[in-house]
Subunit: 139 residues, 2 copies
Amino acid sequence: MVAPLLTHILETSLYVTELERAEGFYRHVFGFEPIHRDHRMVALRVAAQSVLLLFRRGATEAGSDTPGGHIPPHGGGGQLHLCFAIPKASLAEWETHLAACGVEIESRVSWKLGGVSLYARDPDGHSVELATPGLWTNY
Amino acid sequence: MVAPLLTHILETSLYVTELERAEGFYRHVFGFEPIHRDHRMVALRVAAQSVLLLFRRGATEAGSDTPGGHIPPHGGGGQLHLCFAIPKASLAEWETHLAACGVEIESRVSWKLGGVSLYARDPDGHSVELATPGLWTNY
């Protein structure tokens, strides 16, 4: 049974203790702009076609109703991991930019396929990676 | 300070109790193929340029060393949420396919911009959404 078409990861989610603080970090450091906001969350546009969801911890555990149907419950804890793709040509710029934003680069990894990853922490301690092509066989 | 270029969400992560079970689900239902495997994780290719990381719960909380540098610790619990983009033309096919795979559609939401989301659960209870364009202003 072959799965129907699926084009990309549209949304990845983080659960944060203070929405404003988390939003401020991702806007300031990454330039992601808010495209939706309600009592549970802020949605930030990531590049052309993706969205980062910041949820207030605990606010989504009962699900929620919209005019078009019910959003099922979810919710998480811990320090999650996500990774954003950056062009190889932007790596040095990102290092400079993170430093200028006061964001420490916790680690830098060189991958055998030629990619390089920078790891940093957001205000909730989530592990945010920036990776150039050459990390996986398909990127 | 304008952020340097960033192109898309490369990786989103789930923490699962049984790696084999989770991998089997995402391979069977979504057709994602494994591109890396070690004692901590399985990485599955999602469409052209994205990767779903399945981590064994607890296996990443000490970080890990690679020849090219240190991967910082991370780890999470709960039932997380992620969303994959599907073409509008594939929605009915996905409904049929999920049913054929024995995956219950927990909810269906129609969004005001015209998109439709299907919500299901993976074996760990993570909330997996499939969304057609017309959910966000940029998708």
